[in-house]
């Protein structure tokens, strides 16, 4: 994971806008799980935290993952627990869903679907981007 460069200068205690950009499928690498660990850890620091699922990252959202069959923790189940940590700003790239033929019915999360222009704006409005 590479940390984004220092964002706009703000006072020490003001919450920063952090966007976790998740671009990898759930089980092909440890990145999806690593991202969730980082997100949950970050949630303890009361920052303005949001998550964007783009490219293969949208595969993390699919319902009915049976990851126990490959001895992996269930990424979708962890995602569904995010509201318990007050993480509610979830976004998904409409184009990435469409390219992969994934309908919203196949996703359980309460999530905001962003068209390309809105996604570009979301990225540019952060203090830090964290890429996984």
């Amino acid at each position: 994971m590479m940390m984004a460069a220092e964002g706009n200068t703000t006072t020490m205690n003001a919450p920063k806008k952090l966007l976790f950009v998740l671009r990898q499928a759930p089980y092909g690498s440890t990145l999806a799980k690593d991202a969730l660990d980082a997100i949950l850890a970050t949630s303890a620091y009361e920052q303005d935290l949001s998550i964007a699922f783009i490219d293969d990252g949208v595969f993390q959202l699919i319902n009915n993952q049976q990851s126990e069959l490959i001895d992996q923790k269930n990424i979708a189940r962890i995602l569904s627990a995010l509201p318990l940590y007050d993480i509610t700003q979830l976004f998904v790239c409409a184009a990435s869903l469409a390219e992969r033929g994934i309908t919203l019915g196949a996703i359980s999360e309460d999530i905001t679907v962003l068209e390309p222009e809105a996604l570009r704006t979301l990225l540019s409005q952060q203090d830090h981007l964290l890429s996984f």
């Binding site: 590479m2 984004a4 460069a5 964002g7 184009a95 990225l123 540019s124 409005q125 981007l129």
Partner: protein, 100 residues
């Protein structure tokens, strides 16, 4: 809106990273091509036209030369920089984003 410095380190001939980055690119953003990403500086690569339209596009000189890419073979719009200048750019841009 803050400008983002996008960092791409894989070849556009074997990876879709550069396209995925371009799809999320704002007008004021910058692009740095490094490691195998410098193959994206070649004028024949699949998204050469898109890269030409970027106002601030950079490629790392040593990564180009190490791969035998002549500085004459890259698009005119791309600025060739060294790693010190890369670090300077990460300071200059309010945001940076690594694609991998």
């Amino acid at each position: 809106m803050s400008a983002i410095l996008h960092i791409v380190n894989q070849s556009p001939f074997s990876s879709t990273l550069l396209k995925q980055c371009m799809d999320r690119f704002n007008n004021d953003d910058g692009l740095i091509l490094l490691e195998d990403g410098v193959y994206g500086a070649m004028s024949q690569h699949p998204y050469a036209q898109n890269v030409r339209n970027i106002k601030r596009c950079y490629a790392i000189k040593n990564d180009l030369l190490a791969r035998g890419i002549s500085l004459d073979d890259i698009s005119d719009s791309i600025q060739v920089i060294d790693y010190d200048e890369f670090v300077q750019l990460t300071i200059e841009f309010p945001l940076s984003h690594s694609w991998y």
